[in-house]
Structures are given as structure tokens and as C-alpha cells.
């Protein structure tokens, strides 16, 4: 980061923002933030990367392309792809129910959507076994199979699409749909031509975040799907390698997962830039990305305050 505490070049006419960092100057504040991130996030990741390459690129490639490593990556990718498709469909349906439908208990349903964010993943694993495991009261036992991975990932990634699509549905102009209906468009046509294109930015961001989460999921998969060769996702494979003392192999596969995660973040960033250009409501706030992280409830992220809107 530059040492300069330069102000944003926007709106020179308006008096500059009220509070700056209290007490400490912006330079010191920036220093603290950068130090904190370096110490707690970047340094460990650097050590990981170094370890993965410690025996050279050839060894890195060898470790990533062993049968077991490739199989775990393939299982992870397949399960994640299936899961994001399922959750894109059901997440959109659930968001639709929460915004456009009225039924008793809606507030409770809206609240429990976030349960997978709050519930520890190992507990998720345990509760899924109770319903879908070998003592299943409905007689369906999928534990220790590929489908256990899918169901576990469905559970943990459920909120992403719902929370990304919901604010767009709230904001959406009903007039377009009414116009389409008055012109004779049926339900499916209206959905395909009007609603779906409007939801697409949120849907894409939600799917990318869900995909990133699914690729790295560990706790919810562990007990439910087990670590058999045919049900070993990459995160479980990595832990097995650590336990066997193969740090380089573990680090190499970790770097592959890390790169996939980074790619997903880039996708989310691009989608949101695209979505916000769509809205034409972005002012000087473009400096701060990711305003649409679907972490917090149902309200759309507020548009950045624009200097010229004051007064």
C-alpha cells in the first residue's frame, strides 16, 4: 500500500468526509490493517505455497496428479456442480416464496434459512446422519456414499442463492411483469423473459459463492460421507495426507483448491460489477467491492452515499 493518505478524487466541492480514523492517522490505521492481514492471513498462505513448491514444480505436478488426488478433485468438482445446480433452482424457489408469497410462519422460514451459516459443520454432519444414515426413520440410507456428499453440501450452501436472489426480487419492478402479462405472456414466458434476466446477477453471485464454499467443505462431509476412497473430497484427502506426513502433497492439492477459490472470488467480483452497472446506481462507492455478500438478511445492500446527494 502506498504511504500516502490521499483522499478520493471525487466531489472536490463538498467538504471532506466527517470522521476519519479517530486518534490514529489514516497511515497508521492502514499499517495496522495491512499488518493484521499479513500476519493472520497472507503469511500462512505464503508458507503453504512455499511448501507446495518446495520440491520443485515437477513434484508439485506429480502430487496433484496422483490417482487419489485426482479422484478426490473429481469427486469434489462433480458434487459441487450438482449441488449448485440444485440449490440454484430451490434457492430461487425459496426466495420467491419469501418475497412474493404469503403463508403462515413465513418469518420463521426466513429466519431458518441462515441456520447453515450458524450451525457448526460437524453438527450438520451428525444431524444429517440421523435422517439419512443407517438408522434412518424413513428407511433411506445414503451415508458413506457419493450422495451423502451432495446432501451435506446442499445443506451448507443453501443460504447463498436464497440470500443473493432475495434482495433483487424485493427491488424488482412489478410493472414489467404486469405489462408482459397484459400483452398475453404466460407464467413461464414472463419468468423466462422478464424475471430470470433480472435475477441473473444475484443468482450468478450466489452460485459462485456456493461453489467456492462447496469446493472446500470439510466438517459436514466428514462423518456423513466418511473418508472412503470413493467418498473422499479434496479437503478430506488433504487431512489424510497431513496425517500420513505428506505435507508437500497436502500443500499441492491445497494450492489447487486455493486457486479455484480465488477464481470464484474473481467471478463474484465481476458479476457484482456487472450487476451494479446494470443498476446504474453506483456512485463514488465503486472503490469498495462486494457490497452484495449475501451474508446479512434480506435487505439489499444500500447504495453508497453520493457526495452530491447530501442536502
Amino acid at each position: 500500500m502506498e504511504a500516502s493518505t490521499a483522499q478520493a478524487p471525487s466531489a472536490p466541492s463538498a467538504p471532506r468526509a466527517g470522521i476519519r480514523l479517530p486518534g490514529v492517522g489514516a497511515g497508521l490505521g492502514r499499517g495496522v490493517v495491512v499488518l493484521y492481514l499479513s500476519l493472520f492471513v497472507l503469511l500462512p498462505l505464503a508458507a503453504l505455497t512455499e511448501q507446495s513448491l518446495s520440491s520443485g514444480l515437477g513434484e508439485f505436478w506429480h502430487q496433484v496428479t496422483t490417482d487419489q488426488a485426482l479422484r478426490s478433485l473429481r469427486i469434489t468438482l462433480e458434487a459441487s456442480l450438482i449441488v449448485v445446480v440444485i440449490n440454484a433452482i430451490f434457492g430461487t424457489i425459496i426466495a420467491w416464496l419469501l418475497v412474493r408469497d404469503q403463508f403462515p410462519g413465513k418469518a420463521v422460514v426466513n429466519a431458518i434459512i441462515d441456520l447453515p451459516f450458524a450451525l457448526p459443520t460437524i453438527v450438520a454432519s451428525l444431524i444429517l446422519i440421523q435422517l439419512w444414515g443407517n438408522k434412518s426413520p424413513v428407511g433411506i440410507n445414503i451415508s458413506l456414499s457419493f450422495w451423502a456428499i451432495v446432501v451435506a453440501l446442499m445443506f451448507v450452501t443453501l443460504p447463498f442463492v436464497v440470500r443473493a436472489v432475495q434482495p433483487l426480487l424485493i427491488e424488482m419492478d412489478r410493472e414489467m411483469e404486469e405489462a408482459a402479462a397484459s400483452l398475453g405472456g404466460g407464467g413461464p414466458t414472463i419468468f423466462r423473459r422478464i424475471i430470470f434476466p433480472n435475477l441473473l446477477p444475484g443468482l450468478a453471485a450466489g452460485v459462485a459463492l456456493a461453489f467456492a464454499r462447496a469446493l472446500g467443505e470439510f466438517g459436514s462431509v466428514l462423518l456423513f460421507a466418511g473418508g472412503l476412497p470413493d467418498t473422499q473430497v479434496s479437503s478430506v484427502f488433504i487431512r489424510t495426507q497431513v496425517e500420513n506426513g505428506n505435507n508437500t502433497g497436502a500443500a499441492a492439492v491445497s494450492v489447487v483448491l486455493l486457486l479455484c477459490a480465488l477464481a470464484m472470488l474473481v467471478v463474484v467480483g465481476l458479476v457484482q460489477r456487472w450487476g451494479s452497472r446494470h443498476e446504474r446506481s453506483q456512485g463514488a462507492g465503486a472503490g469498495v467491492g462486494l457490497t452484495v455478500m449475501p451474508m446479512s438478511g434480506d435487505e439489499p445492500a444500500p447504495p453508497p452515499t453520493r457526495e452530491d446527494e447530501r442536502e
Binding site: 493518505t5 466527517g18 480514523l21 420467491w96 431458518i112 450451525l119 447504495p303
Partner: protein
């Protein structure tokens, strides 16, 4: 009209049925199974020395990681919103990393940094400081995984409140600290609190990263989620269920808090 009503019911059955089978039924079932034979088996398991130690260690981790990430989160949000510079996008990108990286990869990174042959190993060994397989390693893992929440929740609120009141305060002679404590912090408090709840829930339940760095030694480096896994693997189901239900109740409390805070924020 009837086709609209039909499709409405169809969507309801699909959406709510999905939630029921995936979220609600499994959760209800674990409460039922835990208390099937009364309250004493799960209670005994949690109040066993190992169970109590796991609870204590989890709370210690929360007590360190959450305040640190909260202070950092507010500072970082102020920086991102009120001090826009070209370098901010880098900070923004790094902030989001922990959301995307696998917890196991996070654990392994710390393991490699602080472990045998790690970058810090010689110095730490000389100073007699143990990071891995002890509390500091667990805390570091929890700080990493829960780092983004407060920043992410505070940034939009800071953008929304604008700067008029702060400017008024400073015009009236308040210094930067006074303005922060009396104007800014009260204005963003619900957003920060929401972030704190998410951070706490994540730290309470973190499993993947902690499992790599802690070694999961009963009565020493076992947090509550690790206790659940160990009890389950040892076929001690009352212990696993009891601790799970305790964690599930905490998660439900977090959900409740999130909803109350959302309402306050909207009001």
C-alpha cells in the same frame, strides 16, 4: 386463475418441502434422539471433565478471537469507506479470502507456518512458545476463518449513515475520538453487532481448521466441535448428541439474535 393457484401450491410444496427435509427434520430428530432416554445421559457427557474442558476452551477461543476481529473489522471498514485509495481493492480482496478458502487449507497453512521446519519454528522453539497443538494455534485458526464478518457487515452501514452528523459534531468542537464514540459507533452499532454474532457463531463451530492445528487431545486441545467428532468416532453417542445439541442451541440463539438485530437495523 386456477393454474396460478396450482403453480403457487406447487412452488410452496417444493420450496418448503426442501427446507423441511434438509434443515428442519434432521434438527428435530437430533433433539428427539438426544433426550430419548431423558436429560441425564447427554448432561452427564457434557459435564464430564473432558466435556467441560472442551466447553471452556471453546469459550476462551471466542473471548480472544471475537474482540480482536471486531476491533480490526471496525478499523478496516472505516479505512475502506472513509479513506478511499487505489490500494483499497487489495485489502478488500484479501478480506474476502477466508470466505472462499477451505478450512482445512487454512489449518494446513498455519500448520506449515508454525510447525516443524516451519518459518517461525526456530525462533518459537528457542523462546519456548508452543503454537501448534495448543491454545494459540486454535485461536489463530479461528481468527483466520472468522475475519471477514465484522468488516462485511460494517461497510454498508458506514456507507449508509453518511458524514453529516460527524461533520456537525466536529464543527461543534468534538475531537475525532469523541465523534467516533458519540456519533459514529452508535450509528453503526447494529451492523457491528450483527457481524459480531456471525463471528461468534463461526468461532464456536469451527472444525476443519482447528482439527489440523489442535491435534484434538481430550482434555487439552479439544474444542466443543472436536469433542463432538471424537465422541462420535468412539461410539459414545450420548456425548456426541449432547454436545451437538448444546452447539445447535447456541446456533439457534445466534439466529434469533441475527433476526432481532436485523429488525433494529431496519427500524
Amino acid at each position: 386463475m386456477s393454474s396460478t393457484a396450482g403453480s403457487r401450491w406447487g412452488l410452496r410444496i417444493l420450496g418448503l418441502g426442501y427446507l423441511a427435509l434438509l434443515l428442519v427434520a434432521p434438527l428435530v430428530l437430533i433433539f428427539y434422539k438426544t433426550f430419548e432416554d431423558g436429560i441425564s445421559p447427554p448432561l452427564e457427557a457434557i459435564t464430564s471433565p473432558d466435556g467441560l474442558h472442551a466447553l471452556k476452551l471453546t469459550l476462551i477461543t471466542v473471548a480472544i478471537a471475537v474482540p480482536l476481529n471486531t476491533i480490526f473489522g471496525i478499523l478496516c471498514a472505516l479505512l475502506l469507506v472513509r479513506h478511499r485509495t487505489k490500494g483499497n481493492f487489495l485489502i478488500d480482496a484479501v478480506i474476502n479470502l477466508p470466505f472462499a478458502i477451505s478450512p482445512v487449507v487454512i489449518g494446513l497453512s498455519l500448520f506449515l507456518l508454525y510447525g516443524t521446519n516451519g518459518w517461525f519454528e526456530p525462533g518459537l522453539a528457542e523462546a519456548g512458545i508452543k503454537i501448534l497443538f495448543s491454545t494459540p494455534g486454535i485461536v489463530l485458526a479461528c481468527i483466520f476463518v472468522s475475519l471477514p464478518f465484522v468488516v462485511r457487515e460494517t461497510v454498508p452501514v458506514l456507507q449508509e449513515i453518511g458524514t453529516e452528523q460527524e461533520q456537525a459534531a466536529s464543527t461543534l468542537g468534538a475531537n475525532a475520538w469523541q465523534t467516533f464514540w458519540r456519533i459514529t459507533l452508535p450509528a453503526i452499532r447494529w451492523g457491528v453487532a450483527y457481524g459480531v454474532v456471525l463471528t461468534t457463531a463461526r468461532v464456536l463451530g469451527e472444525f476443519g481448521a482447528v482439527t489440523i492445528v489442535s491435534g484434538s487431545i481430550s482434555g487439552q486441545t479439544q474444542t466443543l466441535p472436536l469433542f463432538v467428532a471424537k465422541q462420535y468416532e468412539n461410539f459414545n453417542l450420548p456425548g456426541a448428541f449432547g454436545a451437538s445439541v448444546l452447539l445447535a442451541l447456541l446456533a439457534l440463539a445466534a439466529l434469533l439474535a441475527m433476526n432481532l438485530l436485523k429488525r433494529k437495523e431496519d427500524a
